[in-house]
Symmetry: C2
Subunit: 362 residues, 2 copies
Amino acid sequence: MERRYNFNAGPSALPQEVLDHAQSELLSYQQLGMSIMEFSHRSKEYQKIHDGANELLRELLNIPDDYEVLFLQGGASLQFSMIPMNFLSEGQQGNYVITGSWAQKALKEAEKIGNTFIGSSSQADDFRSIPDLGTIKYSDQDAYVHLTSNNTIHGTQWKHFPKNDQSRFIADMSSDILSRSLPVDQFSLIYAGAQKNLGPAGVTVVILKKDMLKNIPDNLPTMLDYRTHVDKKSLYNTPPSFAIYMLSLVLQWTKNNGGIQAIEKLNAEKTNLLYDTIDGSKGFYNGTSEKQSRSSMNVTFRLPGKELEDLFLKEAEEEGFVGLKGHRSVGGCRASLYNAVPIESVHALCDFMHTFHHKHNI
Amino acid sequence: MERRYNFNAGPSALPQEVLDHAQSELLSYQQLGMSIMEFSHRSKEYQKIHDGANELLRELLNIPDDYEVLFLQGGASLQFSMIPMNFLSEGQQGNYVITGSWAQKALKEAEKIGNTFIGSSSQADDFRSIPDLGTIKYSDQDAYVHLTSNNTIHGTQWKHFPKNDQSRFIADMSSDILSRSLPVDQFSLIYAGAQKNLGPAGVTVVILKKDMLKNIPDNLPTMLDYRTHVDKKSLYNTPPSFAIYMLSLVLQWTKNNGGIQAIEKLNAEKTNLLYDTIDGSKGFYNGTSEKQSRSSMNVTFRLPGKELEDLFLKEAEEEGFVGLKGHRSVGGCRASLYNAVPIESVHALCDFMHTFHHKHNI
Ligand SMILES: Cc1ncc(COP(=O)(O)O)c(C=O)c1O
Ligand SMILES: Cc1ncc(COP(=O)(O)O)c(C=O)c1O
Ligand SMILES: [Mg+2]
Ligand SMILES: [Mg+2]
Ligand SMILES: [Mg+2]
Ligand SMILES: [Mg+2]
């Protein structure tokens, strides 16, 4: 069967080996005569998957022992609310660095809960860049400082992360977690919807420093209190067990393929191929983000004029390329190069872009 | 491959045809060269599944047009909080009918949000029964009246539902939705985690009367405001797309097998087989719930003495029966006979129970 060139922004490509494996045991997990979807979440078989995913993520990201790893539901969007509900106390402020639409949404949810502050914003720049670390404003009242490590829509990414002694940094890493080595210890909380580098939609990963659990207000809804999920090891209620199973397979695949170091190297190769094609096109293809802020995950670009752009997207689709349309809020084109996108897909895309360029040279 | 006799309480058995179908197209949904997990939730292919599941559920349950059908995350447990957050106003009370542990948990979440009232409780009875409809207390201050249609842990089920002109009834139907015909119009809201009769864990179904949307307080977290999901047709953020795909297959299977009427009839046959085995055992097997309150989904029973019970569970497991252990909070035995449990499994269980009884006649 011919697989397509999948550049979706999320849900997105999964490793073919992972899908093959899941398919082979879909009706009988480990020859046990039941689908993994049919096992109780209290069974020893499921428990092993649940714990295994936790341990693998710790190993791959080198997560220190004073951090908890949680598997939740509700997507990154529910984290936008859980974070201020748990950590934004009276008399404090949530400090948000605004680098794109997702950061804006996170801020909006915090505004409903408490005071907020914008430590930096690249909105004036149409979110084409990541702020210089030195320009971010901090305050004694910061409950935490929230940033979006990779801006899925705008195609920008933090290359370094801020660090100081008093701030608790929180990061939405939905679209670049597991794509590169990560100084976890610079963060108090990291969260990510799984549906880009981690697995299918339906599970959200939270990496949480234990000292964050100390000042959570009492009387939060049980499901929205991080302590519930820490205490019950993400088994307070029925977890999305199949999504966590798929996550465990993707993590195993990542490990089998050399772990973060190897993945990071391959991702750089993929990204360079595509940006070189863009930059070598003499302005036919135009990267939308500033060069030093370019994302290695979501490559955003435009063509000269809407007509040509539409034609590009149409012909690409006919050639088997999926997901190249930019987010409906910004238009243009976007190729998402998540971990599971094979380099062959990127070669094919670059070839197609060369051909299209020559055909429509203007 | 030999499938097991799966009596899990949830996650639980899925129809073999559904698993076969999902397996056959796991790498290439409708020959399109991508897994359904790899499609964007904004693609027309996924949209069709999403809408299709909605329409099928409407058709199967005969849901009136003035109701919304939502697909959410977080399980029934998050609904325990969303309901009072959205509907329990100052000066009102949430009226809870307490028929088991899940009802207690729902009540506990409401207590965090506002005033509550217990309109009836079978706790004194160890939750062995459902209250007579006539004994439930209502009040002018009731924001709503909450009940649990089937008590998964205790093995009891409402045979009829209360009805009056002023009350807004809300029901947790996690463990019996789609098992029998349902007077949807007697309820203002019905909710259910999918992992029993509807599909795998990871999606929660909410059936909501539109007039409930009028008095929701502003400034709720966006993800916890029912209006968000109504407005965006359960696509505000990334939905658990594979779980919803599986739900759509289970609904299609239900329809192919004659719909609710046929399912209800078959369920009654299955239930009768097992209760007859219990009642015909001269007290060797003891049903734990009152006869007129017995659940058609979760059949709870005990054996004389812990030793024999442990032996029963051990030998059953060796014979390929899964999930017969009662909930850890109550002990004993429980066989869950959800829609996807084939009658052959029930025959096999009854045979095993007869044999075990004769071997250990005391
Ligand atoms: C950076 C980022 N944050 C948050 C979200 C929202 O995630 P979810 O749909 O899981 O709520 C997305 C989705 O694409 C994202 O890219
Ligand atoms: C009747 C009932 N309500 C609520 C729940 C909790 O559901 P969830 O795990 O989806 O939160 C269950 C789980 O078994 C249940 O049986
Ligand atoms: Mg953005
Ligand atoms: Mg984004
Ligand atoms: Mg109960
Ligand atoms: Mg129960």
